[in-house]
Symmetry: C2
């Protein structure tokens, strides 16, 4: 269903369009293999020692610019591969971490990778690695590794029983997805962090919600998975980003007010469902966060299978099976 | 997490095992292509006129036994295909329906296809076909076409606030999945039926629930998709079955009682969550219906990401993207 608004002359995106805005890496498709084959011809698979499974995809642009050290094998055909294979010792977890940290440090010095910023602060895990393996969060983008976020929809009902959803606008100072609308609470899950702990931390840092209350009342509702080729709003156009978003719901009383705390949020709005849907259709949400709201509407029966020809396609794509390990 | 019960000496399946019990058709996997390639080498893709997309997969056993008419082209390589291509006129929707109905009638006469029964009663749609195209529900199994079901979890809370779930046992007289446990309400969606109408009908027919109440109070919560290679309990061992299950929740008061109506249910049980989970782990549920309960537990926060290493893999596989059209 496309959201239309004749008064505004706005004809928005269908819900499948909203999904494709984020989940836009080609799928395996026997009756139309060309889009995936073309994409893979310029994509480098990233391997760690002693493991046949790829952990991420790099673009040719990244591979060309990267100041590779002898710890990495760059194999250009027939399948393009970057293999971490530490020369400075055995293929131990420690040697892998050292090799990766050295490379990231060199890459940062080149000044060719704005994604890396001036310094790394947070560590992210290589998900599903057979040993603990973590490095600079910002370098995950370059290697196209799976990242984990935690996203919560905070909602209430007004005196007439109508649902209202807390919708922050991202700060106009943030370098990525500047000024777009977002989920009530959203943030990354650190390397050594439990998902619920990350949610509790972000809820306090970004929205001023009480930690004990969130821990007690937030409800885990699943996880979304998608594979995004970044657009210019991300600041890293063309980079490959497979993502997991753990999804939580939190119903609050009408007197609970979310407030910006750490400067990442410009302001919080309390919107009715129609306003949220219209704003999504106008592409004014951060693309991956729009998916969390679509899933919310589907789980709450506000998008019904009878009304939506793309219902099954949408629900499947919200839970894409990624071509990388995703286990804890 | 495997459910263990030391008192009983029962060590059950993990939740990923429960998913794999139903979603067991191989996935596309670049680092291990062999299982899918082997399977496809003995699988025939079914095409309808003027459409490059396959609509179903037939087994070699079905293709060998079928009394093909001149309306079908059987192409054995390099990609095995069965192409509906009506000779009795143009490739009109009517010619397709006639060709298919004739074939099914001949196939039934051979007596080689117990799946077809003695006669067809219900029609199912070929999902996503560019024109209305429907035929005998029972023949869908032979062509490996996508079927649509509607499944509802009916639950209540007792005086202590603990959740109880209505769990029917399938009749001991039913020929398939005999005596296994099932979802509170479950049934197929007919060719010309809206999903909610099918739910309302099945709720009355199988559980004696009031139609107006179900229409008003049942909540659509998404759709599960999986690709099953049938086991012997289905009565059609080895057949290929891609399925969609539209999922609904219905919370009822403690005094609502579900009762068998049409003979498909042996009896209804009102179980606590622990009993449901233990019974699932013991493989005593119909495999696809166990997935509906897993999804219920995930959406209700009763399986949390911190507790379950396979959380993301499970959620993705509950929403498999099928290699066939799934649009309305």
């Amino acid at each position: 269903m496309a959201v239309t608004d004749e008064a505004d002359g706005v004809c928005g995106q269908s819900i499948l369009d909203i999904v494709k805005e984020c989940d836009n890496f080609p799928y395996h498709n026997t009756s139309n293999p060309e889009p995936l084959e073309t994409r893979m011809a310029s994509t480098w698979q990233f391997f760690i020692p002693d493991d046949p499974k790829p952990y991420g995809y790099l673009t040719s642009s990244t591979v060309d610019k990267m100041p590779w050290t002898p710890d990495f094998e760059i194999i250009s055909g027939p399948v393009k591969q970057v293999r971490l294979s530490p020369k400075s010792g055995a293929s131990t977890p420690e040697a892998c971490q050292v090799a990766m940290a050295s490379l990231i440090s060199l890459a940062r010095e080149t000044g060719l990778f704005p994604e890396l910023g001036k310094r790394g602060r947070e560590l992210y895990s290589v998900l599903g690695a057979p040993y603990p393996f973590k490095f600079d969060r910002k370098a995950h983008a370059l290697f196209g590794l799976v990242t984990r976020g935690v996203h919560m929809t905070v909602y209430t009902h007004n005196v007439d029983g109508e649902m209202r959803i807390w919708v922050p606008q991202r700060s106009l100072d943030r370098p990525v997805y500047t000024g777009l609308f977002d989920n009530s609470v959203a943030g990354g899950v650190g390397a050594d962090e439990a998902v619920l702990d990350a949610l509790v931390r972000e809820s306090a840092e970004e929205a001023g919600l009480d930690e004990g209350f969130v821990r007690r009342a937030a409800r885990a509702c699943g996880a979304l998975t998608w594979f995004n080729i970044k657009d210019s709003r991300s600041g890293s156009r063309g980079m490959l980003h497979p993502g997991i978003q753990y999804v939580y719901d939190l119903e609050v009383e009408a007197d609970v007010v979310l407030k910006p705390v750490d400067g990442e949020v410009e302001k919080f709005n309390l919107w009715d469902v129609e306003t949220v849907r219209k704003t999504m259709a106008q592409k004014k949400f951060k693309p991956s966060s729009a998916l969390v709201l679509l899933d919310f509407f589907i789980r709450h029966g506000m998008i019904a299978p009878e009304e939506e020809a793309d219902y099954v396609e949408v629900v499947s794509r919200l839970h894409r099976r990624l071509p990388f390990p995703v286990g804890a």
